[in-house]
Amino acid sequence: MEYLLLVYSDNKQFDTLTPAQQAEGLAAYGAYAEALQKAGVMRGGNRLRPQETATTVRMRSGKTEVLNGPYAETREQLGGYFLIDVPNLDAALSWASRCPGASHGTMEVRPVWAMGEN
């Protein structure tokens, strides 16, 4: 089953780290992604640029509205994601707990609802 692991964290915290600490933090993510690869469960994943870079689009009364900023402004923001394929939720939680995001932020684990699946 596919699960999306969403990394929510306060990126202001990251800005307060020393360059060495930042490099260490990113290297931990690199090692984590590699471990996912080696285990053969990795389907995709990336870091996202901060929510200030977000643009939202919606259609209201036949008109498009384009707004600067994220859909919801929160202190802990979506900073990245991993898409994994594992047998069950227990395994997904086990991988989520190993993500560095679990210690500096919060991981949200969501099962993928495939198109056409009930």
């Binding site: 260490e24 931990a28 590699e34 471990a35 939680l93 707990s97 190993r98």
Partner: protein, 413 residues
């Protein structure tokens, strides 16, 4: 306003919960085997206690008070359902008891039987420890779920399925005797140790509830050792847990950094706990037969030697892991055996031993395997391969302090 009466009532309720919960569950569910029903009745009794005791004072025997209320709830709940012969006989029996003076009632201790029911072969292995924590100690499903890294809803379902199985399959609360006891005891020990390991794996102080879990597992271990004082493995398990627990504080440095066993300041080990563990191990060794937990306790004892001798007894540790490998065939025992070999015969010999188990799929996602491999590769000067193994270990680790430690090791290559 919080008054002394409220505090006293809460403390008494907490004390009763800790010491009598399992006894009350075992007693209330003995004949119906309806653990869930007993738990519901008990939780209502505890709620009633928290409302009543601050006003009327804590009763002379809180357990008996709780039992009376829980029994009434159970009888009321039973009246609202259609019951089979067994269950109605049980309720009739409970009602008869009600007539007596509860102050003088001694509640028989059926906890050992309850432990055996929780670890029954008919119950899924993965839910045995959670079931014990709930039925014997009254932990809620959400707390157990966090400790075992399972979704709360899933844990709730697993626990309730297990209780249904106990009731429907007729898993009794009897303590097996003789050969059957020896046969089923390992399952009880494994479940208690699983609870301990979940509590232990939590970094010191990071999660108060989980730290508590290791303490609770030791409490279960003490209970088991007191109820089965002549079973070497029950004593061995308690010895093992106490040895590990004695080093709890030493696992972190002043600034919260991870300190591996070899580098721990032995002055921060708990001497009292080590001595108790040693005494238990001596008693275990005097018992008939032996087993996994006695061997593992002996390994910990050989590590504890460092406090006085300045060095762990790695020869003994190697021999003990030889025995553990032969006994259990566990890849983790084989990993530890390789580490011991590296200590006595050098890193190259250790690596050769690791190569023997390198293909075991159970180790592929096991952080300690990669960390040990990285360490030995580094010591033989294979920097590239060591760096790769460190990266794998870092990627698999969930404890941030251990992750930082591994990253520092990798950076020092």
């Amino acid at each position: 306003m919080r008054t002394d009466a409220v505090t006293a009532a809460e403390e008494a309720a907490e004390d009763a919960a800790r010491h009598s919960y399992g006894k009350l569950v075992a007693f209330l569910a003995a004949r119906t085997r309806d653990v869930a029903g007993a738990e519901d009745a008990l939780s209502e009794a505890f709620a009633a206690a928290l409302a009543d005791w601050p006003r009327h004072g804590v009763p002379r025997t809180p357990d008996a008070w709780l039992l009376t209320v829980a029994r009434r709830k159970l009888i009321d709940a039973g009246r609202q359902r259609r019951l089979d012969g067994d269950a109605s006989a049980h309720l009739a029996w409970l009602e008869e008891l009600k007539a007596g003076d509860d102050g003088d009632t001694t509640i028989p201790d059926g906890r050992l039987g309850l432990l055996f029911a929780c670890a029954h072969p008919g119950i899924d292995r993965g839910v045995r420890a959670p079931l014990m924590l709930q039925a014997v100690l009254g932990f809620d499903a959400a707390t157990i779920a966090s400790a075992f890294l399972v979704a709360p809803a899933t844990m709730g379902q697993r626990l309730s399925r297990a209780k249904t199985k106990i009731r429907q399959a007729g898993i009794g609360f009897e303590v097996p005797e003789g050969a059957a006891l020896r046969e089923r005891l390992p399952d009880v020990l494994d479940a208690i140790y699983a609870a301990y390991a979940e509590g232990w794996s939590d970094p010191q102080g990071a999660d108060a509830r989980r730290r508590n879990l290791a303490d609770e597992a030791i409490w279960l271990g003490r209970l088991l050792a007191s109820l089965l004082p002549d079973e070497g493995e029950a004593l061995g398990l308690l010895s093992l847990m106490l040895h590990a627990h004695a080093r709890r504080d030493a696992r972190r440095g002043e600034s919260g950094d991870y300190v591996p066993l070899d580098a721990q300041d032995t002055a921060r080990w708990d001497v009292g706990m080590i001595e108790e563990a040693e005494a238990l191990l001596a008693r275990a060794n005097a018992c008939e037969g032996g087993g996994r937990y006695q061997l593992e306790a002996a390994v910990q004892s050989a590590h504890a030697v460092r406090r006085r001798a300045g060095r762990a007894d790695w020869h003994a540790i190697g021999q003990l892991y030889d025995a553990l490998c032969a006994l259990t065939g566990s890849p983790v025992a084989a990993l530890n055996r390789a580490v011991a070999i590296a200590h006595t015969q050098g890193p190259q010999a250790g690596l050769l031993a690791l190569d023997d188990i390198a293909g075991d799929t159970r180790l592929a996602d096991y952080q300690p395997y990669w960390a040990a491999r990285a360490e030995l590769l580094a010591r033989t000067g294979a920097r590239q391969a060591a760096a790769e193994a460190y990266r794998q270990a870092i990627g698999l680790e969930s404890d941030p302090a251990v992750r930082r430690f591994l990253q520092q090791r990798a950076a020092a290559l």
